[in-house]
């Protein structure tokens, strides 16, 4: 979709349109990629919730594994090592060989060392008050059992087995039972935590699923809406383009009909023998000539516009004196200006540097500005042309500015953004039945930009307008080189 159509569609804002179509018309200058990008961003924004949920689920699962599953495993290990401590002590009772008894004593001590490590680790990781409490109780009970176990071991090693058995029955068994209960309590706590965390994981998973479904649904809805909007936007564009084309054809037809009517009328009078005398015939011939020139100019302008839009037109750039350009324009418009009694005030600073450009194109550009000034000046019949050097607002260097000023009807502030659009004609201009194709300013702007410059406007209703052509100054060396060779350099052809 080219820029012409996009801009044309933007103008539908002026006419009556449904609110949705207005929104679509606003979005239509941008391609569908932007729409898809917006959809993509929305989906990503919602998708972040899903990703966060998945992350939370993952973290919960890891916490469950680290906190509960591993915890249960550790408690199982603790229970086993505690049993091993007691079992090894009993094994020492089954032999009278002191060396073997010592081996069992070693095994018992190794196991109790592992139990102590496990309890310390549990206490390090315990966060809840009940966990800490039961951990400390286990530590205390285990310590009490170990002191009894040491006495039992000593008695066994001393060979007093009766005493060992008695000690174990009196102190060891109850102490170990307390340890066993403590371990069961810890296991129960881990079970509770695991259940709670499992419930959390399940809840988070459910939420993730709902959100995922939501994201998919929203994505589907947005994608459908986007497709619909793109199609609708294309359709509106096509309708508007067709409308503009019709308006353009009507406008051009109107522009052609007036000179054709004059030519036809003159031809009829000549054919009917109503024109007598050489002078009268000469005047009729001149009128037909003028009208033909107008038609030719109109057709040329349309063709020029079409060629610039197709980027087929090539300019021959060379250093030009500003006065040379202005003189050329004034020559070509002199007849028109004199015919309708306009005064052109020409002020050109002396010693202006050269500008790089195509003489014919720049003349066309300024001519369009002058013709517009003539058309829209109303009763003032004054046009001012100035040329001067000024600091460039866009570049750090200086530039040449050529202004075409009129004291006519001016341009409405709301219409200012559209006046350089092709085929655009203001409401006031249309109402005033001022003829035109809506191509002049668009063409002038294209030419200015092709010369590396710009075209700007300052206007006030009922006060007048100033159109300014900004052109970059040619470097001195370039200017000198250009003046040495008369042949245009192909490298500077655009």
């Amino acid at each position: 979709m080219n820029g012409q159509n996009k801009r044309a569609r933007r103008r539908t804002l002026a006419g009556p349109a449904a609110p949705l179509d207005r929104v679509l018309a606003l979005a239509s200058p941008y391609n569908s990629s932007l729409l898809l990008l917006i959809v993509f961003l929305i989906v990503i924004a919602i998708g972040r919730f899903v990703i966060r949920d998945l992350h939370t689920t993952n973290v919960e699962a890891q916490k469950m594994y680290a906190g509960s599953v591993l915890g249960l495993h550790r408690i199982g290990e603790l229970q086993y090592q505690a049993q091993e401590t007691r079992r090894s002590t009993f094994y020492a009772l089954t032999t009278s060989n002191s060396n073997l008894q010592l081996e069992y004593a070693d095994q018992s001590r190794e196991a109790d060392h592992r139990v102590n490590e496990g309890i310390s680790e549990y206490l390090l990781q315990a966060r809840m008050p009940n966990e800490i409490e039961v951990g400390k109780r286990l530590q205390r009970d285990w310590s009490e059992y170990l002191s009894v176990r040491n006495e039992v071991l000593a008695s066994i090693l001393e060979g007093i087995t009766n005493e060992a058995v008695t000690l174990d029955l009196k102190g060891g068994a109850p102490a170990f039972e307390r340890v066993r209960q403590d371990l069961e309590e810890i296991k129960r706590l881990y079970d509770e935590q695991a259940s709670q965390q499992l419930a959390n994981v399940a809840a988070t998973s459910r939420r993730s699923i709902f959100r995922l479904i939501g994201v998919l649904g929203i994505t589907l809805a947005l994608a459908s809406a986007s497709v619909w909007a793109i199609q609708r936007s294309k359709m509106l564009g096509a309708i508007q383009l067709a409308k503009l084309q019709m308006e353009f054809v009507a406008s051009v037809s109107h522009e052609l009909r007036t000179p054709l009517a004059v030519i036809s009328s003159a031809a009829d009078n000549i054919a009917d023998g109503l024109v007598g005398g050489k002078d009268q015939l000469k005047r009729y011939g001149s009128a037909i000539q003028n009208q033909c020139r107008q038609i030719t100019e109109l057709v040329n302008q349309i063709l020029l516009f079409a060629s610039t839009k197709d980027r087929k037109y090539r300019y021959t750039l060379r250093p030009l004196q500003v006065s040379q350009i202005i003189d050329s324009v004034l020559d070509s418009t002199a007849e028109l200006v004199q015919e309708i009694g306009f005064v052109i005030e020409r002020r050109i600073e002396s010693g202006l540097p050269c500008v790089m450009g195509d003489l014919s194109a720049l003349s066309q550009c300024l001519q369009n500005l002058i013709v517009n000034a003539v058309k829209y000046s109303g009763e003032s019949r004054w046009i001012g042309i100035r040329a001067f050097v000024h600091d460039s607002e866009e570049r750090s260097s200086k530039e040449i500015r050529i202004t075409v000023q009129d004291r006519g009807m001016g341009i409405d502030r709301l219409e200012m953004p559209h006046i350089f659009e092709p085929f655009y004609r203001g409401a006031a201009v249309t109402a005033a039945q001022i003829h035109g194709t809506g191509l002049g300013l668009s063409l002038a702007k294209s030419i200015a930009e092709a010369m590396g410059g710009t075209l700007s406007v300052v206007s006030e209703l009922a006060v007048g307008s100033i159109f300014t052509l900004h052109l970059p100054i040619v470097e001195k060396q370039e200017s000198e080189m250009a003046s040495v060779t008369s042949k245009p350099d192909p490298s500077i052809r655009k």
Binding site: S98, N99, L102, L153, A154, L157, E158, G159
Partner: protein, 179 residues
């Protein structure tokens, strides 16, 4: 026939006693400290870490090793740990502390247990590691180890106010022979 058997028993006992006497020097000569040979190590007498005893005199040590003293000052029962016969450490203890040979030592405990004068006979362990572990596990245990076999799990007591590292310490054991 009975007379003949009694005569044979008397003769055998006399021969055994003579043989036993011929294995070592006279008891009186063992009362004096034997000078240490350069290659010898000191032999530490060790007790459980919980045992408050820090110092023992040689006569006290002899009474303990002969089972004549049954309890420590803290009330704990004394358990004597000996290494197996044939070990140089055991020989040093028998010679320098008990002032007996192997037979006399065995007979002493057989007689003591039989008469009830000794409550518990010594525990016999094969290795210094076993002795160390036993002393570590039994609060009332007492045993002996080469200084090189000591570690923080047991406590070496001073003998006549001299520790195993001190000059003039009385118990020395010949170096281990490579097997």
């Amino acid at each position: 026939m009975r007379r003949l058997a009694g005569l044979l028993f008397i003769l055998a006992s006399a021969a055994f006693s003579l043989a036993a006497l011929s294995l070592g020097p006279a008891p009186n000569s063992r009362l004096l400290p034997r000078p240490q040979i350069a290659s010898e190590q000191n032999l530490a007498v060790v007790v459980n870490l919980s045992n408050p005893v820090e110092n023992l005199s040689m006569p006290e040590l002899r009474r303990i090793f002969l089972g004549e003293r049954s309890h420590w000052p803290n009330g704990r029962r004394i358990t004597l740990v000996m290494m197996e016969p044939g070990q140089p450490e055991r020989a040093v203890v028998l010679r320098d502390i008990c002032q007996m040979n192997e037979t006399d030592f065995n007979n002493h405990f057989l007689h003591g247990v039989f008469t009830g004068e000794v409550l518990v006979s010594p525990k016999t362990l094969a290795t210094p590691v076993g002795v160390r572990k036993f002393v570590f596990n039994v609060p009332g245990a007492i045993g002996y180890l080469r200084v090189s076999d000591l570690d923080p799990t047991v406590k070496a007591v001073r003998i006549d106010e001299r520790g195993p590292e001190d000059k003039g310490y009385r118990l020395h054991v010949p170096p281990r022979t490579a097997k």
